[in-house]
Symmetry: C2
Subunit: 303 residues, 2 copies
């Protein structure tokens, strides 16, 4: 995309991530002035801090930038969305779910703190996400707070992420159709990625057509993310991924690669990337360089 | 309390509960028009419908009545608070926590649907609580939605219910001081009971002194509830309770009874009841008959 050739994603991301890390450090069960009881704060912070690509926060910040919204509001939204993502990983890694012991190159939360504490830490992180969206410091006006809570609750709940995980759970060892696989991922990872874009956009004002175009961008990017994830599961190694590679095949989980094969999956990822760029253009918003570069990075990543 | 002698709690409760049950049935992952995916809705509905004393919803409705607030808003709040309570029971019953197989006289959710589905159902119920608080139908104005989400998130999170459960987890087999035991219950059950009162009151307008008095009422009632729970754990049988009796002693959990003995615990419950009535009087609100009668019921219950 030649029109964005002068945008430096690395520098932009570093700036955003510095703010996000600092905010998470300040807002997630801080040890001062009064620590969360009985080690719960340690498990929550371990689950969230110093790890992950922070893709969702970056999408939030980029979407807010596209609509020239409030950076202070977006920072809270970015952290809230990341907390939902982090809690879902904590619960997903537990023995009764994926039973994974490695995440972001570290022992998973239940390995480190025990299952009961992992369960509670996940629960508390979900609640904290909504707390971050409803500050009393004036950084987000009350009507926007309500909108943001609604968007996050829908994206996280049974018609979003949790619903997708239920499909995932039921799909192990089953042959899914392409439509069913799409449906699973639209909910499981797509809903929260799309919500990241839309909640970032809700931090500012944008005309309805622009918002609809961003919604399309979010859908394309959300799906592309999962297609690439499936590709990397068979092409990358555990050290690069920071999690166990080859898990999907080992667990006989349906993936885009198992359904379409590797070359077609790669083409599909590129096609979704084109759709994402097309939607950004259709939005007629000016400052979409970060959203554009994020889509590129997301599809062409190697871990 | 002679001034409330003509208030019939039974009839009032029956009216409120009919509305709450109908609303929960309509709002919790309804099978129509599109069921929640992969059986998740069944697990969610099983966890919530046809069960429980609905004490929290009753407190919400009674507090709303006391401030002459919006019944439509209170109905959503009542359901949201009950969903948080229900999700906490689902997770609390799981093998890595209390490992309980009986709840409200029925098999617990993980026994019936498996641990993974129970974990997800709990997660989805928490998200749904915030969805119920942020409707687009005009039944709650946006600023109040934001306030309600904030109150619920704080009551459910690490400085509330989840924090209390972490203390509970860490306390098994340990001798707690009276202060520590109070602290645990203030968070574990007290926070959500008190939030029920305060969120019900947020459905209307009340002067600050009245709100503070209701806050004190909520604290007294929340603590009394737990003292009575501890008493019933040693004096009632499983059939009456609809859950396993004598569990606290069997698990060597500190309780008010183990700390103070049975007679002193009973006196303490009555003392808290007096405090609750005193706070209601101090609120100078007119229609507090339901709150008053609920406090009596809660302390004098036998199951």
């Amino acid at each position: 995309m030649t029109e964005y050739i002068h945008f430096e994603l690395g520098a932009w991301s570093a700036r955003q991530l510095a703010a996000v890390e600092q905010a998470l450090n300040r807002w997630v069960a801080p040890p001062e002035p009064r620590p969360a009881p009985a080690g719960l704060g340690d498990a929550m912070r371990y689950a969230v801090l110093d790890g992950g690509k922070r893709l969702r926060p970056l999408l939030v910040m980029a979407a807010c930038e596209a609509v020239q919204g409030s950076p202070a509001a977006a920072l809270r939204v970015a952290c809230a969305v990341e907390l939902i993502h982090a809690y879902s990983l904590v619960h997903d890694d537990m023995p009764c779910m994926d039973n994974d012991i490695l995440r972001r190159g570290k022992p998973t939360v239940h390995v480190k703190f025990g299952q009961a504490q992992a369960l509670l830490a996940g629960d508390a992180l979900q609640a904290l996400a909504f707390e971050l969206l409803t500050p009393e410091d004036g950084s987000i006006d009350p009507a926007t707070q309500a909108t943001l809570c609604r968007m996050l609750a829908q994206a996280a709940g049974y018609q979003g992420m949790a619903g997708g995980q239920a499909i995932d759970l039921a799909s192990v060892g089953k042959a899914l159709t392409s439509a069913e696989l799409h449906d699973m991922h639209r909910l499981k990872t797509g809903a929260l990625l799309q919500a990241s874009v839309m909640m970032g956009a809700a931090c500012g004002a944008a005309p309805a057509p622009a918002r609809n175009a961003l919604c399309d961008y979010g859908a394309a990017v959300g799906l592309a993310f999962q297609v690439v994830d499936d590709i990397l599961d068979v092409t990358a190694d555990s050290a690069t991924l920071g999690k166990t590679a080859g898990k999907d095949a080992a667990q006989d989980k349906p993936t885009f690669v198992s359904l379409m094969g590797l070359p077609a999956s790669r083409n599909y990822a590129q096609e979704l990337l084109s759709q994402a760029h097309h939607s950004l253009k259709a939005s007629e918003l000016g400052p979409t360089a970060a959203l554009s570069a994020l889509a590129d990075m997301l599809v062409n990543r190697t871990s």
